[in-house]
Amino acid sequence: MFGAGDPGGAGTAPLPNDGAGGALIALGCAGLLALHWLEGYLHTRRTVLLMRRLDGPLLRTLIASLAFWLLLLPKVQENPFIYFRF
């Protein structure tokens, strides 16, 4: 990825120069790990009890809507020749 590893397989794309220094990249990685931690936390007894206490139309609608919006996001288009859309 980003030009690392085997040049034949990775292409010629360099690391994007968007001002992301070491600390920001480390923060990004920590953010990704935080998602795993959050997922693990959801499986704890404490969270299940908390969710049972908060159970109701608000929480159910919130979770169902979040799932809906994430499903609505199209998966990344790999076909390079799908052209412009408005």
Binding site: A13, L24, P57, S65, L72, P80
Partner: protein, 390 residues
Amino acid sequence: MPLMLRRIGRTIVAVLAGLVLAMLLIEVFFRVIDATPLRWVLAEPQVSLYGPDFATGYRHRVNVSGMWLTEHRNFVRTSNLGLRDRDRPLAHGSGPRAVIVGNSIIEAVQVEESQTSSAVAEQILSRQFPGAEVVNLGLSGARPAVEVARLQSQGLVLAPDVAVVVIDAGILITPDATDDQEFTGYRPDAQGLFHLSYGFRNTSGYRFRTSRAGQAFYWLLDHSEIARIINDRKNVGLFAELSPPAAAVAQAYEQAPTGHAGILDPYVALWLKGEPAAARAVFDAFIRDLAAIHRDNKFPIIVATRNIKAGCPDPDDKRSALIAVIRAQVEGAGMRFVDLDAREVAAVGADRDADLYGFGANLGIGHLNVAGNRVYGEIFADVIARALPR
């Protein structure tokens, strides 16, 4: 009864609050992704670059920025003039100015702006001609009619000293080359002569996009992640993930990574036999209209063909005959001709030219990568330098 009504009311309020809260959370979530390096890895809505245009049907909107996700992630920002280009004044500077008209190969949203072929050509030419400018007029999906209309409108406004028009041969053999319902097309008149046609101007979609409601819609696209999610989904279709890929569309534009028997047959039919007749008429009209722009505005126009595979075994020498016919027609109309595929093979070799296309695991198939844009930029710098008045 009042108690029951109150309970129903409370439930409705809770459901609505849940919907609004979810929207806010999604909006914040994707804004955080967009504002941090997480945008290089996580899923997010793609930037929406295009808006309506009276001359071509569509074009880039001014100063729009965001992540391009298709094929290769890249941060894209359109210029102050609404081009896939660096910011620059509309007025001609002290140095010579060239414009390059083409499709997504020239637009090159997959690489940084400074790595596009136009930017590379500008960097090279600036050493020889101080203040030289090469303006990128590349527009994704541009067909011959759109290219002519773009040169007539945006191109002439920039007062160029030379114009390069890159025509993708693959697009000429697609069946919908005469469609004008979404953008400018070539349509035959009563005598069978093909002219630029602007049927899109009468469509409800175009009328909406140019209305106040359309402006509000584009404002939302520029400022709301939720709006972009809805628009992206509308564009790909509700059940797009369940549909087979649009292979036919891909074939029409694809740069063949390797040569094979019969690869040139559609082009031989088009240019040597004049079949299909409509496609041939579109090409003739394209050359006729470019020649008229050249005559009326007195600057050189270079017609550059691409996607006519070079460097393959060709025992019958079909390709030479084909290129000779195209060259004769272009030069006969008073313009210059460049065979981009032959120049590309001459630059890197027939066995390496596939490496100029695609990214990552798809190396060899797709748009020009950084190396490909550099090679094209060097070719453009050379042909523009030769065409500029000394």
